[in-house]
Amino acid sequence: MHIKGFYLDGITSKGISARLELVSRQQKTLVIISEDDNKQLHVFQLSNLDISSRIGDAPRELNLDSGEQFITNDNEGIDRLLRQLIPDGIAPSLMHTLERNVTAIAFSIITSAVFVWLITVYGIPRAADYIAFNMPSVVVEQFETDMAILDRTMFEPSELTTDRKNDIKRLLDPFIEQYISLPETHLKPRLDFRSGMGANAFALPSGKIIFTDALVNLVEHDNELVAVFFHELGHLRQKHMMRRSIQDAIVTISVFFIIGDLDALEIAGTIPTLLADMSYSRDFEREADLFALQQMNEQGIDLDYFRDVMKRLSEEFSDHAKVVSERSDDLGDEIMITVPEFLLTHPGWRERVLFVDEFESVSSPDAEIN
C-alpha cells in the first residue's frame, strides 16, 4: 500500500510530489519515494515520526525528527497504516471519531448547555458571594477611593441647601442606627449628596450611600426617600456592588477560557457576559427591594411610598432618556448607558409594584380581611 502526498525537506520551500510506503511491518520501517524519478528520499522507523492527529479533512502532517515533513490529504490511508503498525494502540484519530459521532455531538451540546447554565446561575454567584463576604477588611477599606474617582468622572457637588441636606440626614439617622444594630452588619452606612446626573441613588462598597439632587427634588414625600434609602441599604447589606464586580470578573475570565480565541467575533463573546450580568442585576434589585419592604414594614412606613417612588423614577427615566445605571465599576462605559440598560437591569416598575402587592399579602396580618 502507499499514500500519496508531498515531501518537504524542511530546508527550502520546494515540495516534491512523493508517496509513503511501508517497507517492513515487523521493523516498522517506512520509506518516502519521489513520484518524479522513483528515487528513495527517506527511509525511517515509525518511532522517528510524529503524526499529527486528524482534524476534519485538513491535510495530515507527518513530521520526521530530523526536520523533514510528509504532508498528505489521505487521512484514511494514514489511519489504516497506523492501525496496521500499532494494532493494540488507542484508535487513531480518537478525537476525530468523537467529533463525527452524532450521539457524542448531541451529548456535548446538551451537557455544555446545562453546565453553562448551572455555572452561570449557581456557581458564579456563590463564588462571588463567598469572596465578597470573606474579603479582608484591609481590601474593603481601599474602596473608599471609589468616591474620589466617581467625583472626578461622574459627579458634581450637590447644589441642595445645607438645611435640606441636614433635614434628610436627620430623617434617616435613626434608620442608620437601627441598621447598625442588626446582626452581621459589616459597614456603617453614611449618606452623601451629589449632582451631575438624573434621579438615582447608589450604594458604594465602602458604605457610602449617594442620593442625587434630582432624586431629592423628584420625590413628593420624604418617606419616599426612606424607601429608596432602605433599598440602597439592602444593596449594601448584601454587598451587591462588590459581588457584581467579582461576578463580572469571573464571567470575563470564563468566556476567555471557553470561547477562547475569537478575534473576529469579539462582540458575540460579550453576549453571555451581558446576559449573565442582566440576570444577576435583576436578582440583586429584587433582593434589595425585599429588604426595603421588610424594613418599611418593621418601621411602620406605608409601602405606598415605595410604589410611588418606583413609579416616579421609571417615569423620570422614560422622560429624559439619559441616566447612568447603578454601578460604579468600569465607569467609562457607564456614561453612555441609556434607558434600555436600566430597563434590562432593573425590573420594570409595574413588576416591582406587583412585588410589593405580593409582599403585602404575605406579610401583613390583616391580608385575609382585605
Binding site: 457524542a104 451537557t111 473576529a264
Partner: protein, 346 residues
C-alpha cells in the same frame, strides 16, 4: 486527494519557467465540520474545568491553519497544548493578581499600570514571536524578530503623539504599527517588506471621518424626523450605528492596504475586500448567532474566514520554491497568553 494531486501537478509544470501566476488564497473549512470540533472542545473544556482549553486552542488553530490554502498547500499550526496550558495558567494568575491589586490598592495599581506600560512592548513582541514561530507553510516556519525599542516607540510613544495631536497623527501611528509588524516578520530567512505611504492612511482616515459624520447627520435626521425618541437617544443610536459602520470600513480598508503594500522577495499580495461584502457576512453572522443562541458561532467564524481568504491572492513573480528555513528557536507561550488576557489585540 485529487485536489492535492492536481495542485501538485500545476506546481510542477509552472516551476520550470519564470512564472507569473496569481495564486488565490482559499479556506476549505466547513461550518458543520467545525461546529462539531468546536462543541466537543467546549464540552471537554467545561468538564475539565478549563484545563482542556489549551488542547482546544490547538485544535481550533490547527483546523483554521490547516484549511487555509495557497498554491495547493495549507498552513500549519505547530504549538503544543502543554506550552499553551503553562503560559495560560501563569497569565491568568498574573491577570487576577493584577486586577485584584489594582482594584484594591489604587496607589499600587498606578505603579502596576506603569509596569504594564513598560512590559507591553515586550509582551507584544513575545506574543507575535510565538504566533509566527508556530506558523509554518511548506515546512518553513515564519518568524517575528521583535525589537524592544522599536516596539516601545510603536506602542507607547506614537500613540501618545497621536493623542496630543488630537488624533491628527493617528494615520502615522497606524502606519508605524503596520510597518513595524510587517517588516519584522519573516518567512524562513526572508523578511517581508512593507511599503505603504502615509498618504494612503490619511486618505482612509479621511473617508472614515466623512462616513462617520455623514451617517451621524443622516441617522439623527431620520430618527428625529420620526420623533420616536429624544434627541439624546437619537444621537446615541445614530452614533452607535455610525461607529460600527466606520470600524468595519477601517477593517476592510486597512486589511486591503496592508496586503497590497506587503511583498516577499519579488512576490506581492493583493486583497479586494469590499465594504458591502464584508458587512453582509458580518450582519448575517450576527443575526444567525443571536437566533441560534450562539450555536452558529463556529460556522460564523468559518464564513468570515472564507470571505476574507476569497479576497486575497498571492502574485507569484519567479519561484516560490527557494525560500530557506531559519534556525530553530523556541519561544515561550507566556507572552502570547499575557497578550490575550490583557487584551492587547495583537
Amino acid at each position: 486527494m485529487a485536489q492535492l494531486e492536481s495542485d501538485l501537478k500545476s506546481n510542477d509544470e509552472t516551476t520550470q519557467t519564470e512564472s507569473k501566476r496569481v495564486l488565490p488564497f482559499e479556506f476549505r473549512g466547513d461550518g458543520t465540520e467545525y461546529f462539531k470540533i468546536w462543541i466537543v472542545n467546549i464540552f471537554l473544556t467545561l468538564i475539565t474545568l478549563g484545563i482542556y482549553s489549551a488542547w482546544a486552542t490547538v485544535r481550533n488553530n490547527r483546523y483554521f491553519y490547516g484549511n487555509t490554502f495557497v498554491d495547493g498547500t495549507s498552513f500549519s499550526y505547530l504549538a503544543k497544548p502543554l506550552q499553551i496550558l503553562k503560559g495560560r495558567i501563569i497569565a491568568v494568575v498574573v491577570f487576577t493578581l493584577f486586577v485584584g491589586l489594582a482594584g484594591a490598592f489604587p496607589v499600587a495599581g498606578a505603579i502596576l499600570y506603569l509596569v504594564l506600560g513598560f512590559a507591553a512592548p515586550y509582551i507584544y513582541n513575545q506574543s507575535l514571536a510565538f504566533k509566527m514561530r508556530n506558523t509554518s507553510y511548506k515546512n518553513i516556519q515564519f518568524r517575528f524578530n521583535g525589537d524592544y525599542g522599536e516596539a516601545f516607540g510603536v506602542l507607547v510613544i506614537w500613540p501618545f503623539l497621536g493623542l496630543i495631536s488630537l488624533g491628527l497623527l493617528y494615520p502615522f501611528v497606524l502606519l508605524k504599527m503596520h510597518q513595524y509588524r510587517m517588516n519584522q516578520t519573516a518567512y524562513g530567512t526572508t523578511q517581508f517588506v512593507f511599503s505603504a505611504q502615509v498618504k494612503s492612511y490619511y486618505k482612509i482616515f479621511g473617508i472614515g471621518v466623512g462616513i462617520l459624520l455623514g451617517l451621524l447627520a443622516f441617522g439623527m435626521g431620520v430618527l428625529n424626523g420620526l420623533g420616536l425618541m429624544s434627541p439624546n437617544g437619537a444621537a446615541v443610536i445614530a452614533g452607535f450605528v455610525a461607529y460600527i459602520f466606520v470600524a468595519t470600513y477601517f477593517t476592510v480598508a486597512f486589511t486591503n492596504l496592508v496586503f497590497i503594500s506587503t511583498s516577499l522577495k519579488e512576490h506581492g499580495f493583493n486583497a479586494t475586500l469590499t465594504l458591502k461584502g464584508y458587512v453582509k457576512v458580518v450582519l448575517i453572522n450576527m443575526l444567525l448567532i443571536v437566533i441560534t443562541l450562539g450555536l452558529y458561532l463556529p460556522a460564523a467564524k468559518v464564513r468570515i474566514m472564507k470571505y476574507i481568504t476569497s479576497c486575497i491572492e498571492l502574485h507569484e513573480r519567479g519561484s516560490l520554491d527557494d525560500f530557506i528555513a531559519a534556525e530553530k528557536e523556541s519561544v515561550s507561550a507566556l507572552g502570547e497568553q499575557l497578550g490575550d488576557v490583557f487584551d492587547f489585540s495583537v
